[in-house]
Symmetry: C2
Subunit: 200 residues, 2 copies
């Protein structure tokens, strides 16, 4: 059986929960609290030298890191990853966009707002995070004005990757009424059969 090391409230970890539930794949979840040092222990660093969750471990012990690489691996041969080279490339484009232009702002704003004390020095980062996160949401809104999903014209791994932190972006102070196409897309994702929500 597959094993996932992850923190349930992390969007990057939640991506795997969502895909595994959508596909009805059996898995074992090992709670790993990256906020409290569980990813910096010698035992965990032996599994993932980069010290991050999520981490996927196959039954034979092989290990794979990086949430979006894991999504692609698990989705291979399912309807959630296109086989057509161009549609696959467009899917990957959105997954790299998510990790480079979206997560570092949208997810980090949520982290600062929800997990840091009100007087923490990193609160000064919030205006910049909200500005750059809004730019990423603008790019998504633009796309959703033309297409219903991000994974080569259909629902798939790029939607799962982008849904994780967009669905809880309001936690970081983003006013989602600015992006009506995104709000409608979030509802389309939640309406997928076997959809599973992130633990609050």
């Amino acid at each position: 059986m597959l094993t996932v090391y992850g923190l349930r409230s992390s969007g990057n970890c939640y991506k795997l929960q969502l895909l595994l539930e959508l596909t009805g794949t059996p898995y074992r979840w090992v709670d790993t609290d990256s906020a409290n040092g569980a990813t910096r222990t010698p035992e965990f660093l032996a599994l993932n030298p980069n010290g991050k969750v999520p981490l996927l471990v196959l039954e034979d012990g092989r290990r794979l890191a990086e949430s979006n690489a894991i999504l692609c691996f698990l989705a291979e041969g399912t309807p959630y990853l296109p086989t057509d080279p161009w549609e696959r490339a467009r899917t990957l484009q959105w997954m790299f966009f998510e990790q480079y232009s979206h997560e570092p702002y949208v997810a980090v704003a949520r982290f600062v707002c929800r997990w840091l004390p009100a007087d923490h020095a990193r609160r000064t980062e919030l205006p910049g995070l909200l500005e750059r996160g809004a730019k990423a949401l603008d790019v998504m809104e633009d796309h959703l004005g033309r297409e219903a999903f991000f994974s080569g014209g259909r629902f798939g791994v790029a939607d799962i990757a982008l849904f994780a932190y967009t669905d809880c972006a309001a936690d970081g102070g983003f006013d989602m009424t600015r992006w009506p196409c995104i709000v409608a897309w979030l509802a389309r994702v939640r309406a997928q059969p076997r959809f599973s929500a992130m633990v609050a």
Copy 2:
């Protein structure tokens, strides 16, 4: 013929130059100076709403952004992208690592050192960039103690992605003698037939 919009001295853009030269693929390069606003014009934003280079344009006008997604698309069917699902997943793992844990520190340290004035406020970011960049290089060094390359056991797109900013990391103040396995790997990449260096 393929068209690449890019800035020659950007590592993200150079990745495409390197793969296209390695594979002997004809292409047209349109110099696009992101440092001077060329990616924020209405004309360019119509091509890529995220306002970034590199951008690939196919002969029929279809467009693809995100350097690592473009690498995967161009490498499909070549020896530079594994076909085995596990080796492909490991390759993608390193490409997401590059964009999330490596480029934001190693590339940005180079940008701060080479392109910002000596009294620029962002110079204060350098110690943090060097610390987090060194962690990424440590993770690469660890891997290279066990394997010769990053793309599923052989040279390929993950090596190209990681080579771009690692080969010029010294520009950002990284002392590469700390990472002898990386230094040896850089030489192995430079020794590939048809290797093409980044414009200085």
